[in-house]
Subunit: 395 residues, 2 copies
Amino acid sequence: MATATGLLDDLAGIGRDLTGGGYHRLAWERPTLELREWFAAEAGRRGLDVTEDGNGNQLAWWGSGDDALLIGSHLDSVRGGGAFDGPLGVASSLAAVDTLRDAGFTPSRPIVVANFTDEEGARFGVACVGSRLATGVLAPERALSLRDDDGTTLAEAMRAGGADPAAVGPADWLASIGAFVELHVEQGRALIDSGDAVGVASAIWPHGRYRLDLHGQGNHAGTTAMTDRHDPMLTYAAAVLASAAAASETARRATFGRVRVAPGSTNSIPVQVTAWLDARAESEEALAGLVDRILSDTRRAAAGHGTRAELTEESVTSAVTFDPGLRDRLATLLGAPQLPTGAGHDAGILASRVPTAMLFVRNPSGISHAPEEYAEPADCEAGVAALAEVIRELA
Amino acid sequence: MATATGLLDDLAGIGRDLTGGGYHRLAWERPTLELREWFAAEAGRRGLDVTEDGNGNQLAWWGSGDDALLIGSHLDSVRGGGAFDGPLGVASSLAAVDTLRDAGFTPSRPIVVANFTDEEGARFGVACVGSRLATGVLAPERALSLRDDDGTTLAEAMRAGGADPAAVGPADWLASIGAFVELHVEQGRALIDSGDAVGVASAIWPHGRYRLDLHGQGNHAGTTAMTDRHDPMLTYAAAVLASAAAASETARRATFGRVRVAPGSTNSIPVQVTAWLDARAESEEALAGLVDRILSDTRRAAAGHGTRAELTEESVTSAVTFDPGLRDRLATLLGAPQLPTGAGHDAGILASRVPTAMLFVRNPSGISHAPEEYAEPADCEAGVAALAEVIRELA
């Protein structure tokens, strides 16, 4: 019988970033294709029936028919991410199947383990592409024309990965799902503070991604007096500090994690800086207010610098309140605390279609999307036991 | 007889950036190799004897022997640069040769037109690589191990461009040079203000390039409270604003034109930000003072953010005062004003070895290192006439 940590150990070498110590497992790149092969092999070894939809989502079926209980998560990572965000949910689901079978359990409904494609959006800039396409909340044409930093479209990347972009779109399997429970490593410190190995998600904050384009006047770095400049890098710096200040004051979140500079030469004043703002708040109104404030502070700075600022919404994911009946039932069953999160998940996407819940496993570093992301083996096994208990309860 | 603008027109299609309107002519890349072929062909058409040293510097000889008068400039550009910075000097030198020959002038010393390699340093981060290697102020091992953004070393790039990296180093031709006069488009507004088509350089400010490494704690952008962050992007923003403030107060120059973020995902708080500071001041003491102040302001911000800042000097080019005798003689000959500049040039490198002067041609935009860089055709021809007059005077 496999343990979750044992299964994760099998993946330790795939997509490893040897200098930074984390993982680069981006959608449709080689490491992620290897992880898909691993998933199909592990499911096959358990006699699960592996199907794949047109979006690259893999599903491993224990039984067949309708009203299935979906479990699982994703295997891709952000650039330089940790080993647990995503894979812990997939590995724990396989281990929970083993646990239940060892105990002679026969489910009353199909159990389906999922590996969702491109949850992080680290390559093409839109998160949860696999589940968004499957549920129809992302249009195929829009998805297929997304481009990575090298200009490769998702359609081209899928083709290179052996998938047919023409098959992308709403998935048939969704009609057979009666509920979804996603297990995930915690990405904050709530379970450290409460002293629990496992928690239940209450809600996901709304989450927006915005592109900030700052236009200035390119010029020579050595010959242009500071007073003659229209330097968009100064406006970017002001935007970064303004966003941190605005989010801090309201206990919300604002982050600039990605920036591009043109022309990007040491001895050139930039002509353009493009940066991406990640913002989250407790409600959509609060999110809009946060972003408005950041934009107005940035525009005030731009006026002073003689530059121009434009903000484009790339995606806004609405708030998710997980199915209250299911959520409360699982929290009671497990004696686990409920906690909100600022992170998006495939569970947040499926929640609009089927009753959905999430289990969180304690992360002693409180850090995620970085090599320090961690879960103790004992907590991982507590997560598997909790997931198995949930399946017994629901199936 | 070719005009300078006619010769520049021949180059209009090489290395063009079709979206930004400028040029990408980086060392040892395809466009720059094409420009080298063009130079050799134009020199050959004039019966000049083209030689090339081990560093990729091309020299076209009108006559042979010692105490030669070197003219010329470079053909490479920054990323997204203009059409004049570099090529105007090469084209004007060829046009001046035509002018003098048409007038039946026979020089009393050899005239040599140079195309120096990699003046901008836009690809490998060190400026004036060709002239630094030729004069021995840059060690071959150090130069060959420089890397571009893709990790390609200069040695590999030279090999790919058909050159032998083993031949890099101090150049024999330097012993045959008695003086150097480089013509260049002006990179500021002094000649606009004085109303002159042509000026003479008095001095080059010292120029430093520094790498700023900011180390923080990578984490999830959605789940990490603002108060739990150690975000190096905030420290970068503070460094950008501190450098602009410090340079403004002292009428010096400080620029951040290039930045790299790890992991560089929208939904990740960065673990590291690396940026390059370009700083210039009227003296080396003033430059050191400016950079010290920027670093201390950045470290104060880093302490507040729980991040760590390290500054590494990548290159510091000393102040250059051009040969006073030659400079004053040319200014009197041409009735031209003298002006200092904050831009480095191959002339600044050669000035330590041979009497060197520079002519500047008015730039009506005052902008350089950008597509707006310009010189009116009449001013270009005034530059050619001035250079021809200088050659008559000196040869």
